[in-house]
Symmetry: C2
Subunit: 231 residues, 2 copies
C-alpha cells in the first residue's frame, strides 16, 4: 500500500517532447549558443537523447515557433534571435484568457500609458505635434469617440515615443481591450462617458505643459474607463 508513503508528489509526468524541449534549451545555455551557431541535425539529436526523430521534431517545432531556431532549407538548423513579443502575441486571445489575466493586462496598459510621458516629452517634435493636433481637432467635433478614434489617438502617442516595443505592445493589447469593452458595455447599450480629460486636453498639455501634468491628466483620462470596467 502506497497510501501512506512519505512523499506523494506528482513528479515527472512530462512527456518525452517536454523533456527533449528542456534538454535542448539547457543544451543551448550550457554551451552558450549564440545566434548563427549551427545546431546538430535531427537524427543526431534523436540518437544522443535516445528518442525518436518525431519527438525531437515536435520539440524543435516549438523552438522554431518561438523564433529560437531557424532552419534554412537543406543547410540545417541554426540558432536565431527570438522576438519576445511574438510569443505573447499568439496567446492573446481574449476568449480564453482568464479574467484575472485580462485585469492584469489592463493595469499594465494603464501603467504604460502613464509611463510613456517622459519619453513623449523627451522625444516630441513639432511635426509630430502637428499631426497629433489634426487628430484631436477632428475628434473635437465628434459627439462620441469610436474605438478607431481611440486607437488613432493613443496609437499616435505610442508612435511618438520612438520605442518600437511600446508600439507593438499597444497594438497587441488593443484587441484585448476592445473585447473587454464590447462585452461589458452591452447591457446598457452604449454608455456615453463624459470625459473629464479629453484627447484635446492631453494634446494641449503635451504641447505646452510638463511631463507630470501629462501623467496626472492621463491617469484621469484612463480612470474613467478603468472604473467602467470595475463597475
Amino acid at each position: 500500500m502506497n497510501t501512506k508513503s512519505g512523499l506523494l508528489e506528482p513528479l515527472e509526468s512530462l512527456s518525452m517532447t517536454d523533456r527533449v524541449e528542456n534538454s535542448l534549451r539547457e543544451f543551448f545555455t550550457e554551451n552558450a549558443f549564440k545566434p548563427g551557431d549551427p545546431l546538430p541535425n535531427e537524427q543526431e539529436i534523436a540518437q544522443r537523447l535516445n528518442v525518436s526523430r518525431n519527438v525531437v521534431r515536435e520539440a524543435l517545432s516549438r523552438l522554431r515557433m518561438l523564433g529560437m531556431i531557424e532552419t534554412r532549407p537543406r543547410r540545417g538548423m541554426v540558432m536565431a534571435q527570438p522576438d519576445p513579443l511574438a510569443s505573447i502575441e499568439k496567446v492573446l486571445n481574449p476568449l480564453i484568457l482568464s479574467q484575472s489575466s485580462l485585469n492584469d493586462i489592463f493595469e499594465l496598459r494603464l501603467i504604460l500609458e502613464m509611463g510613456i510621458a517622459d519619453f513623449l516629452f523627451a522625444r516630441k517634435t513639432a511635426k509630430a505635434l502637428d499631426e497629433l493636433e489634426l487628430i484631436v481637432e477632428k475628434q473635437k467635433k465628434l459627439p462620441l469617440l469610436s474605438k478607431e478614434d481611440e486607437i488613432e489617438f493613443h496609437g499616435k502617442l505610442y508612435d511618438m515615443t520612438g520605442n518600437e516595443t511600446f508600439q507593438r505592445f499597444q497594438s497587441l493589447l488593443f484587441p484585448v481591450f476592445e473585447h473587454v469593452f464590447t462585452s461589458l458595455s452591452k447591457p446598457g447599450g452604449h454608455a456615453v462617458i463624459k470625459d473629464p480629460v479629453s484627447h484635446y486636453d492631453l494634446f494641449k498639455i503635451l504641447k505646452e505643459g510638463t511631463s507630470e501634468e501629462f501623467q496626472q491628466a492621463m491617469r484621469i483620462h484612463l480612470s474613467v474607463y478603468y472604473n467602467t470596467i470595475k463597475a
Copy 2:
C-alpha cells in the same frame, strides 16, 4: 521569364506545420472556443486538413507548450487557459536576444517601476510598509548592495502592487538585467554607484510623500543604472 512579373513577393513559404497551427488558431477563434471545450481528435484534424498526423501533432505540440490546449491522458484534448507570461519566459535567454530587444526590455522596466507608483499609494498597508522598512533599514548598513538586495527591495514593491502579473514580470526580467550588468561591469571590476536616491529614500517617500514625488525619485534612482548601461 518571370524576371519582369509585376508582383515579386516572398508569398507563402510557410511550412505545413505553420499553416496547420494558424488554421487551428483561426478555428478556435471563429468557433469561440472557451476553456474546457473539447477538441476534435488528432486523426480527425489531420483528415479534415488533409495533412499527416505528424504535422498536426507538431502544431498541437506548439499550442500545448503555450498552454492553449491540454490533453488528459485518455479523454482527448480540451481548450485551456494560457498564461501569457509563460511563453515569454521561455525566450528570455540574454545570450540570444538582440541588443535592441534588451534595450527595449530595460525601458519597459523603467516605465513599470515608475508606473507602479499609483498602485503602491492606492494599495499600501501599514503591515507591508513595516516589512519594507525592515528591508531598507538592513540595507542602510551595507556598503554595497548586491543583486539579491536589489531584488529584495524592488520585488517587495511589486509585491505591494497586488498585481500578480507585475510580480512575475519582474522576476522574469531580472535575469536579463543581471546578465547585462555583470557583462558590462566586468572591465572595471565592480563599479560602486553612488545613488542620489537610495532605497531608504524611496521608502520614506512611499510612507509619507505623494505618488508624484515617488515617481520622480524612482526615475532618478533608476537613471543611474540606465546611464551605466548606456555608457
